[in-house]
Amino acid sequence: MAKVNIRNEIRFILNGRDVVLSSVAPDATLLDWLRLARSLRGTKEGCAEGDCGACTVLVGRLSAGRLVYESVNACIRFLGSLDGTHVVTVEHLRGQPGQLHPVQQAMVDFHGSQCGFCTPGFVMSLYGLWMKSPDPSNAAIEKALQGNLCRCTGYEAIMRAAHAISSYGKAGKDPLAVERKAITARLEALRDGARVEIGSARARLIVPANVDDFATVLDQEPGATIVAGATDVGLWVTKHMRDISPAVFIGNLDGLCTIAEDKGVISIGAGVTYTEAFSTLSKRIPALGPLFDRIGGEQVRNMGTIGGNIANGSPIGDTPPPLIALGARLTLRKGKKRRTIPLETFFIAYGKQDRQPGEFVEAVHVPVPAKGEKFAVYKITKRRDEDITAALGAFFLTLAKDGTVADVRIAYGGMAATPKRASFVEKALLGKPWTEETVEAAMAQYGRDFTPLTDMRASAEYRALAARNLLLRFFAETSGTRAPFQVSRNEAA
């Protein structure tokens, strides 16, 4: 293995200035650092769990050599994960001399703020959207704002403002657009290929130089906390004050951020975020598009990874059930050794996965359904968007020429201690004609597959009933029943 240089500081750009930090706690958050160390108090803390968006900032990073700015939650973004990035806070927004930025002026003129506390976060989310999409649709604005809560306005005024931004200025003339080349060059200059190690003993953080280096680090530190998007680990710190040292930040390892298709199988690196995966997956497996639109808010999708969603083993992670139904396989790596297993077998029990000390999830391989193979995934939540799953069902079906069920895989989240197949239901379907009678008979089998729990998201009774009804929905959708099959947000957008 090539020798890796070690650097004992992180370096990034904050607004216009270079920042070099040699003393950084592994659990230090960007938000606290901005507010307490830098007295940049435009960025607010609303919830410290990545759900309200009051702390939204933009982080610019080089993704395949291209500078992209993404909205993120500063409250759960670890400072150590910012090496080589450009952090942009509300204080950095500028318009023409003496004027507000177009996003800000639109918000003022359209009465987009009342108490104003959530406003900097909305401004940053809208700014991120506007840079990418100067004339966004309603649906695009709503999606960009899924991670921003406002309790005063009812959002209508903010939507009006969002539509008007481009009438106040051109995105192409925005300072971040104009300075793109210069910032790219500065970020390139920060990429020295070194591993970052800061701190010692009980407060250590490591940013590996590359994937091989990550494997080496993890081999040496099998008890380390692997942090990719931090959308879960962030809460271990802010809510539970758990010790995560030594923390290994892998969010920016190019080698884990690839997504490629080969022979009908899409391989997704463990560091690929929901946002990065969206275009490929929603194109190749269309049913995943609407699901991904309902995972977290935009900030969480910009940070969170599919690999992390799998690796943390949560029974309510949104990606494992559909990936299991699709027949995905998982590659794990320890040092130089790799093994690839069916994703389904990775989940052993609640909080227990088939991952050895020092081993990490490297990639997940997802077969694209062939023509004629039917696939759907349905997520049920209390609130439609940015809510954690109460129950989620994924269905994969192949019919034989005679209309009987040739192959079926049904997997659920929120119904058991792990993401789980509905084996009895599948058995009741297999080989039978794909008719409503067959489906009804299969629906009676759910009680054998699942004994869901009651919690704050849903009662056991509701989970059982709604989960069962999803099979009927899937049947309706695949059998020529007259639409609509579900309520939908976007038709008016």
Partner: protein
């Protein structure tokens, strides 16, 4: 911003007077992150930070509290317990002495503060708090009012009965009658800025507290009691809150008191900002209710008599539960005339956090009960609920006496509803929806139009007073202060518009300043939608006093009759000449005219005898209506709001842009309350929905897909309110009821609209689906 050089002395109208659409005075600061909230203020050097230690039992005596590890933790300076409260260990806002600052030996809800760690940093305080070892001897507890008997079980405050006529007899004699029960959930405020207080000690007994509160005077009084010092030692200041909604009417007292105690004890500034979870666990919410109703009616759907029991989950102490449950009864009529009525409240004691004010203050819960009764009658007689609503509306010259014997003198609900019914194409869409439902197996649509009448005034009559302080400086610029607080509702702006209008100077000549008990004393909470009504009048009074003195001065100096002194935009006409307002002010100063005034206002006409249940508690009523259409998935209970139309009135609006924001925001908040916002306690009495990850307020994508909001341009207040405007804070909140009823309508379609769905709130997808299942079952029977 005082740019007096730019004052236009020839203008026909001032910039920013009343009845003009002005942007929020802080909007440019909001969007740039420069609006200062308390946590954004630079801390005095050496500032300490507090964190509350919360009880881990719902009802228990504390048998042992070992705080040694807490005290020994890194950065910890002190740990306060009940015995560290130098004055009275009580912050009960109504003087019932039932709410300790820190629990003393006994805890009455899971999450009750029992100690407070004071440390060098907030992080250290949070970490240390977790090291406490507290042992409890558990006592029986109850969290759900469904397990209680409203007539027998413990109440936190005396109940109220309203009655007019003999409801029991009327119901008994009615051709038809029915009974039912409804559950209406509570609601977390979810102000984006959580509670916070920073206390800065002064000399002698003095302490200044920056508190995120809607009620600085109460914080002042509570802190003075807790410290055992006179009120004059305490100054409370608040420039702006990041949202309040009632959640900061009384609930900030605890944080302010603890910060002040620690600040005085350690002679250092102390800041307490609970994290979101602690804030949601340890501070009160909207009351949830169980409403028992019985109604007598005829075959046409004319309601003849109604009997209500409103049982409320109040939590472990009274807080504001008395007036909240009173207001529920005051709104159990909504827009309907009950020929006979009997309504009782039961403010029940539970082992939960003490519930408190929340926009509407019990009123919406009362109205939801009234609307359920309407629905029941509509289903019973087989008519569209809208018809039954209209049949039972208050009249204008008769059928206009409320259950509390106040005459409704300003009723405009018929016109509001007629206009909305027309603009929303209610009848056509009713037909279209029937056709759609007949052809759609799984997705069903529903439609409903619900009215709102909301009573304006504090029902505690003495609260209906306000003060303001107006200074005119020698350059003609104005410094304005009043007792109202700014929480985003645009109060400061509206009052500044009133003052600008009074002096006829541009709005930018009026400097809006932070609310402080040192400038305007003995103020009421900014609550009950009263902010502009009360403080606008007080500020107008202050400005008028100065204007009168200026007029007297000008008349004498220029030897013209008083009526020849006219205040024109940015100038004053005195006889045949005009001089700049600033010049007149300067001349007046040189002539030793007092240019400062304390304004005052008290609402006329109102009175209330609670023992008799009679009076005129409300100065006037505000009206509105909304019409919503939803789609419901009958397989999962999921839904979307397809369209909402609103027609609401605010009299002759002071600022339509601000009022529109209040209406849109109020509706969405009301919709959230009745749909996705669910508070959930587990078997140990723990609130498990204590963060936005588990407690779901509406998002931008929960807005109605089509959302038409209109401010009626024809009404004006019947009473001489401030420029004939009407209050707008709370009245739009219950407009959200149309979504609940539209959901109910869609649910009813699964049983061919023959069975009243009795859909309870919040109508989460789960509750919708379970109601659908129940209806399908009942339809089969």
């Amino acid at each position: 911003m005082n740019k007096h050089a730019t004052s236009n002395l020839k203008a026909e109208k001032i910039v920013g007077g009343v009845a003009t659409d002005q942007r929020h005075d802080s909007a440019h600061k909001h969007v740039s992150g420069t609006a200062v909230y308390i946590d954004d203020m630079p801390e005095p050097s050496g500032t300490l930070h507090g964190c509350l230690g919360l009880s881990a039992a719902a009802h228990a005596t504390i048998t042992r509290m070992d705080l040694s590890a807490v005290r020994a933790a890194s950065g910890v300076v002190d740990v306060l317990t009940a015995k560290d409260v130098p004055g009275e260990n009580d912050i009960s806002p109504t003087g019932r002495h039932d709410e300790p600052v820190l629990a003393d030996g006994k805890v009455e809800f899971f999450g009750q503060p029992i100690f407070c760690v004071i440390a060098e940093t907030r992080e250290q305080a949070r970490r240390a708090t977790r090291l406490a070892k507290v042992e409890y001897k558990e006592l029986p507890f109850v969290t759900d009012i469904g397990e209680l008997d409203p007539k027998k079980d413990k109440l936190v405050t005396p109940p109220l009965t309203l009655k007019r006529g003999d409801a029991a007899a009327a119901i008994k004699a009615a051709p038809r009658r029915l009974k039912g029960k409804m559950r209406v959930g509570g609601q977390e405020h979810f102000y984006l800025e959580g509670h916070i207080a920073m206390a800065v000690p002064g000399e002698d007994q003095d302490v200044t507290i920056y508190s995120s509160t809607q009620h600085p005077s109460e914080v002042q009084h509570m802190v003075s009691h807790a410290l055992g010092v006179p009120s004059n030692a305490i100054t409370v200041e608040i420039r702006r809150m990041g949202g309040g909604f009632g959640g900061k009417e009384t609930q900030g007292n605890q944080f302010a008191a603890l910060a002040a105690i620690a600040a005085k004890k350690h002679h250092r500034a102390v800041k307490i900002r609970p994290d979101r979870d602690d804030d949601m666990i340890a501070t009160g919410k909207r009351h949830d209710f169980l409403v028992d109703y019985e109604v007598g009616f005829d075959d046409e759907g004319n309601i003849l008599g109604v009997d209500f029991m409103f049982a409320a989950r109040c939590g472990f102490s009274s807080d504001l539960s008395g007036p909240v449950t009173d207001r529920a009864l005051f709104h159990c009529d909504n827009t309907y005339f009950w020929p006979t009525v009997h309504a009782q409240s039961a403010p029940l004691y539970t082992n939960t956090v003490s519930n408190t004010a929340f926009r509407g203050f019990g009123g919406p819960q009362g109205m939801v009960g009234a609307e359920r009764v309407i629905d029941e009658v509509a289903f019973a007689v087989g008519k569209d609920p809208l018809e039954i609503r209209k049949t039972n509306f208050y009249g204008t010259s008769d059928r206009n006496i409320t259950p509390y014997h106040q005459t409704v003198e300003d009723n405009i609900i018929q016109r509001i509803v007629a206009e909305l019914e027309e603009s929303a194409s209610y009848a056509r869409r009713r037909r279209e929806i029937s056709a759609f439902n007949a052809n759609s197996r799984f997705i069903k649509r529903g439609l409903a139009l619900t009215p709102v009448k909301f009573g304006i005034s504090f029902t505690a009559t003495h609260y209906n007073q306000a003060g303001a302080l107006v200074h005119v400086y020698t350059d003609g610029s104005v410094h304005l202060n009043h007792g109202g607080t700014e929480m985003g509702q645009g109060l400061y702006l509206k009052v500044a518009q009133v003052v600008a209008e009074e002096f006829q100077i541009d709005l930018d000549q009026v400097k809006i300043t932070a609310t402080t008990t040192g400038k305007v004393p003995n103020t009421s909470a900014t609550a009950a939608s009263s902010g502009s009504d009360l403080n606008g009048m007080a500020a107008q009074n202050g400005a008028r006093q100065i204007k009168d003195r200026l007029t007297d001065f000008a008349a004498e100096k220029y030897q013209v009759p008083r009526d020849q002194v006219l205040f024109l935009p940015n100038r004053v006409r005195i006889g045949n000449q005009e001089i700049a307002f600033a010049d007149l002010v300067k001349q007046a100063y040189m002539a030793r005219i007092q240019l400062s005034a304390a304004g005052f206002y008290k609402t006329p006409k109102i009175h209330w005898n609670r023992d008799k249940g009679e009076g005129r508690p409300f100065y006037y009523f505000a009206y509105g209506a909304s019409c919503s259409e939803v789609s419901v998935d009958t397989l999962t209970g999921e839904y979307v709001v397809e369209r909402t139309d609103i027609l609401h009135e605010t009299g002759r609006s002071l600022n339509r842009a601000i009022d529109l924001g209040q209406i849109e925001g109020g509706f969405i908040q009301g919709m959230g309350w009745l749909t996705t916002e669910e508070l959930w306690w587990d078997g140990k009495g723990r609130l498990r929905t204590h963060a936005p990850s588990t407690y779901k307020i509406p998002l931008a994508s929960d807005r109605p897909k089509i959302f038409n909001v209109t401010l009626a341009d024809w009404p004006e207040a019947g009473e001489p309110t401030i420029h004939r405007s009407k209050a707008v804070g709370e009245p739009p909140f219950p407009l959200g009821m149309s979504v609940l009823h539209a959901l109910s309508d869609a649910v009813a379609s699964v049983a061919d609209h023959r069975i009243c769905p009795r859909l309870d709130a919040p109508a989460t997808p789960e509750r919708v689906l379970m109601t659908i299942e129940r209806l399908k079952g009942e339809a089969k029977d």
